[in-house]
């Protein structure tokens, strides 16, 4: 953290923060004037289409591109032989250097959909025509698509050079787990399954690249949300970092974690450089679904809980097996993030956690909203429900008993992370009140009396925020990353207008509004007049990207830090020109005046001095008026202990979901009748943005809980390759949602803000699963696998009916 003096003190009331304000971004989007990557029009632009593998695992025996290359309008047909020799493999998040991945396969393919060749032509249509003219022969080889089977001896190896299908495996024990299990009055075990799904943005991934031979510079426009993207692109292309210029002013049409297109960008960058032509690749939906490498966690849990008769949960054992598919970038690290919230919001004294990351012949996994936390929250909450059911205890009472209490913060959990602040009981109570819980119970019971299946779901979950990437050193001892900074530059020009410069792209989070609001708050100037622009990677200050619910904390903090430097400079200029010390003046809405009254200097006068009148500037002050601030993640900067304890994230938002679900007993079709979410992310910078992301996160959670699945057939083919098979919730499936706000400020951040980019999604699947199982409970049925599709629920209903009729017909 820098040493900017805290000029503001405690901001008891805010001028702009937390107020209803329109966003800066919306007007250009509602009029269709955003600028997305597919809108980047360069003269002479060429188009890429891809040949993909139809096999889950095969040797490439013959690949003949001559007929394709001979077609009119075709400039290049690139295969892995040339490409892999000319570029470096893409980075792997764990210590597995022999699990090599390039954009194109060479010699063999490891999943159905893997890219084998790329065609560049005058139009996308011509490129697709040429793809069909490529001659290729495969010899199919053994494959494995089940992660448990992939662990068995003798299983086909996805990367034989690596020697195993296990990418990462470690058993952590934090706290007196053995003793707690031995002493506890009760124990139970359960298995849970979280299916492969993803955020599936409406815009697929796209990238445009242009090489300038005269300057040796590669320009890149991409729909990207990826930490270290420019560096990694340059490294793979064997270029110095300053030879790749990524333009962060491209609007990204949704991402929620998945827009990591490094393999796309290295391919297109290589083609642009090789051909000396601007080249673009815009995934079509099929390429996106099967070969875009954007599938999310695919996880099996074995959970054991040790608890007492009064409901006190003493300890947990969690085995999490995650199928990352055929290659790994940052995906194995999605088992690492949950270490920072492995006991959820509960006082649980010890934990055993065994994350296992395994390779199979499936599409590669990538980061998805929450980075593995939502599946873990689902496992923890399902365990709470199972304990309540075991003890015959009310689920809400069980949670109240185990939730960390307000006065216990800051609270250290066994895995080494300290939670900053919270008031979980109050948020839960507010959610219950807003849901009118007694009436909800009546509605459920009335529905049951009328012969329908109805259930109430509860979840109380954490959203770790302010991502500092500490899972990198935790999961890879060779990686000593302990900083994950973000930055902002604030400039005041000669006219007195303010510009904020941010250093990454944005995919709908409203960062321009965020930066303007934070600068406005510090400088006490109207945010409407503040412009916010995106640097490119060569002009950018050191920054990471909008991942890990971090931008309100990190970019907001950086913008405020830079604005505070501007404010301090103005105070110094004012004091000098009022012939007094800085302690004798006050800053008010941009002007500086003597506290004792009398003379003051206006904003315009101060700016004029800064820009033009060096003779009136305080000694040693730089002319002009601009300031940068690079902020390190609060609480960051430490490597893990030998037993794997670490401060993973600084801030912890909290959400309590209350859901009423009904199920059509004839079809198993679920319907969410009422939905309430109590939410505490500290100080909200812009409530409309926070609420929007929370609603959206809940919708995404509804999809993960009930509909969405990248299903694979037994022969390794992706069965849900289109939006007709991969079902995303529409306005008919997402109910009207009531959000209840609460604010427990974080003591670690500038305005008390915490993160909210993953809000809703981190608690919704758990709550919906809880509601479905409450609805099925009277039948003695339950589903412990997501998504809980209508057919899956229907099957459980039928089995329960059969069990019942068997029991009735068999004499005791």
């Amino acid at each position: 953290m820098g040493s900017v003096p805290d000029l503001l003190g405690v901001l008891a009331t805010f001028r702009y923060i937390g107020k209803k304000r329109r966003t800066k971004e919306d007007p250009r989007f509602v009029t269709g004037r955003g600028r997305y990557v597919a809108d980047v029009a360069l003269p002479g632009l060429k188009h890429v289409a891809l040949l993909s593998s139809p096999h889950a695992s095969a040797l490439i025996q013959r690949l003949d591109t001559r007929k394709a290359l001979a077609l009119p309008g075709v400039h290049c047909v690139l295969t892995g032989e040339e490409f892999c020799a000319a570029t470096e493999p893409l980075p792997v998040g764990v210590d597995a250097p022999l699990v090599k991945r390039w954009s194109l396969a060479r010699g063999c393919v490891r999943y159905a959909g893997e890219w084998v060749a790329a065609v560049v032509a005058d139009s996308r249509a011509l490129a697709e025509d040429a793809v069909e003219a490529i001659e290729i022969e495969y010899a199919p080889t053994d494959y494995v698509t089940d992660p448990e089977q992939a662990l068995l001896p003798g299983a086909p190896l996805v990367h034989p050079e690596h020697g195993s299908n296990v990418l990462y495996r470690r058993k952590f024990v934090w706290g007196p787990m053995e003793e707690d299990f031995a002493r506890a009055q009760h124990r139970l075990a359960l298995k849970l399954r979280w299916a492969r799904s993803a955020t599936v943005p409406i815009e697929t991934f796209g990238v445009v690249a242009q090489w300038h031979p005269g300057t040796g510079l590669l320009d890149v426009w991409a729909s990207i949300q990826m930490p270290k993207f420019p560096d990694q692109t340059a490294r793979a292309l064997r270029l110095p970092g300053n030879a790749v210029r990524v333009h962060f002013d491209v609007d990204v049409g949704g991402s929620y974690g998945v827009k990591r297109g490094l393999k796309h960008t290295v391919l297109v960058g290589y083609l642009a450089k090789k051909l000396g032509m601007p080249v673009r690749l815009i995934e079509d939906r099929l390429e996106n679904m099967r070969g875009g490498d954007m599938h999310g966690p695919d996880r099996s849990f074995d959970v054991q809980a040790a608890f007492d008769a009064d409901g006190t949960i003493r300890s947990l054992k969690i085995r999490a097996l995650d199928d990352v598919g055929a290659y790994a970038g940052r995906s194995p690290l999605q088992l690492g993030k949950p270490v920072g919230a492995i006991v959820g919001p509960y006082r649980i004294g010890s934990v055993e956690y065994e994350p296992i990351s395994v390779l199979t012949h499936k599409t590669a996994q990538e980061a998805v909203r929450g980075f593995g936390q939502s599946p873990t929250n689902y496992a923890i909450e399902s365990t709470l429900d199972a304990v309540a059911s075991y003890l015959g205890m009310d689920r809400i009472e069980l949670r109240r008993k185990n939730l960390i209490r307000r006065e216990q913060f800051p609270y250290l959990i066994p895995s080494g992370t300290t939670y900053d602040s919270g008031d979980y009981h109050t948020v839960l109570d507010k959610a219950l009140a807003a849901a009118d819980y007694p009436r909800l119970l009546q509605q459920r019971d009335a529905a049951r009396k009328a012969g329908r299946l109805a259930g109430i779901g509860i979840s109380t979950c954490l959203e770790p925020s302010g991502g500092n990437s500490a899972f990198e050193p935790l999961f890879n001892p060779k990686n000593e990353t302990t900083t994950w900074m973000d930055s902002c530059l604030v400039r005041v020009d000669l006219s007195g207008a303010i510009t904020g410069v941010m250093n990454t792209s944005t995919s709908g989070q409203g960062h321009e509004t965020l930066v303007a609001t934070c600068i406005a708050e510090v400088l006490e100037r109207d945010p409407a007049g503040i412009r916010v622009v995106h640097a490119d990677s060569l002009t950018a200050l050191p920054s990471n990207s909008p991942v890990g619910s971090r931008m309100a904390i990190m970019l907001g903090g950086a913008a405020a830090g830079a604005a505070k430097k501007i404010r301090a400079a103005l105070v110094r200029i004012g004091a000098k020109n009022l012939d007094c010390g800085v302690e004798e003046v006050e800053y008010h809405e941009g002007s500086v005046r003597r506290k004792s009254g009398g003379r003051g200097l206006s904003w315009d006068q101060l700016v004029e001095i800064a820009h033009r009148k060096f003779h009136l500037l305080p000694h040693g002050m730089e002319p002009g008026l601009q300031a940068k601030f690079v902020w390190e993640v609060p609480t960051g900067g430490m490597l893990p202990t030998p037993d794997g304890r670490i401060q993973m994230y600084p801030c912890f938002s909290f959400e309590a979901h209350i859901v009423l679900a009904e199920i059509d007993p004839a079809t198993g079709q679920p319907r969410l009748a009422r939905y309430t979410c109590g939410h505490d992310c500290g100080t909200m910078i812009n409530p409309d943005i926070v609420h929007g992301m929370t609603y959206g996160g809940i919708a995404h959670g509804i999809g993960a809980a009930l509909y969405e699945k990248f299903a694979f057939s037994d022969n390794g083919q992706l069965a849900s390759q289109t939006l007709m098979d991969y079902l995303m919730p529409s306005a008919m499936e997402v109910p009207s949602v009531k959000i209840v706000d609460h604010c427990t400020p974080s003591p670690l951040t500038e305005f008390g803000q915490k993160g909210s980019g993953e809000a809703g999604y981190l608690g919704a699947p758990a709550a919906i699963a809880s509601a479905i199982n409450d609805a099925l409970a009277p039948l003695g049925a339950a589903v412990h696998e997501l998504p809980m599709t209508a057919p899956a629920i229907w099957q459980q209903i039928q089995q329960a009916k059969r069990r019942r009729s068997c029991a009735e017909s068999s004499p005791d």
Binding site: V30, I202, G508, G692
Partner: protein, 159 residues
Amino acid sequence: MTVSIVVEITVNRTRWRGSIEPRTTLADFLREHLGLTGTHVGCEHGVCGACSILLDGVPVRSCLMYAAQADGCAVTTIEGLSREDGTPGALQDAFCETHALQCGYCTPGMVIAAHALLQENAAPSDGEIREALSGNLCRCTGYVQIVEAVQLAAARKEG
């Protein structure tokens, strides 16, 4: 092998006549030939609705039509719903007021669908709004603030 076909289409009240490749979709025609990039392509198989436009006043998927099929028709895109100076029209302003969008990618299609609804039904119910929007997918908003925007636009028109 490339043949061309002459079409005449009125787009946002301006008549366009020229030759195009017959396999050009209406979405590609609008985006690449006319530079109207507000029409977005999301799935190219008619599910997501991002490419929705009005064809003679009726919302259709421009990815599922060839431009040649629009010969002689009047097309309205998201750009055509703005004011003359390019600033938001009344419905678009309601989207801004309720923050009915985040990344903006599905937004043009949503506005087109909502516009078509309000032309037919000046005071739609919550259920009618949701049904009218159900052919357009949004991954950012959970639809809540979009429904609010349509309600607001309807109420303002009423008032």
